[in-house]
Symmetry: C2
Subunit: 92 residues, 2 copies
């Protein structure tokens, strides 16, 4: 029997057959975590659940967010809002 | 006596001598408002005050946020966190 490499993202344990996809997922979660940390350190009284959900929401839409930051704020209106956001804690 | 143009941003009434500065400020507030709307429509139970404070926080750091979205999540660690954020409502 052959053995094949499977790539695991250690932030959330998700598995990928493709290394590039695993790296992109890890980068997205790193962005989400950094947004969450920034919000928690700057906005008094925000809950961890909310700051995590917002980090994930924005990281999952980083392409449109980048465009919005570069002078096209209307790009954020194209985000599919009903992509419901479950905080990471709920996944574990 | 001469008359000179002063540029007012109608989102928050702030005045500028320079048109470009006024436009940049307006664009920043538009980005803040779009981030706030996205958060309010996607994250259940978040308060208007928190979503507004987060919109302003991220819009004021749009340069670093854009960099973070483009593959350098660590760029967000350079944000000056103690730039305290007062929601717009508190200004009016």
């Amino acid at each position: 029997m052959a053995v094949v490499a499977v790539w695991k993202c250690d932030r959330d344990g998700k598995m990928f057959d493709d290394k590039k996809a695993a790296e992109a997922h890890d980068k997205m979660l790193e962005l989400a975590a950094n947004i969450t940390d920034l919000i928690e350190n700057s906005v008094k009284g925000i809950s961890e659940e909310h700051s995590e959900a917002i980090g994930l929401l924005l990281a999952r839409n980083s392409d449109k967010l980048a465009k919005a930051c570069k002078g096209k704020p209307e790009a954020l209106l194209e985000v599919d809002e009903d992509s419901s956001i479950t905080p990471l804690a709920a996944n574990q």
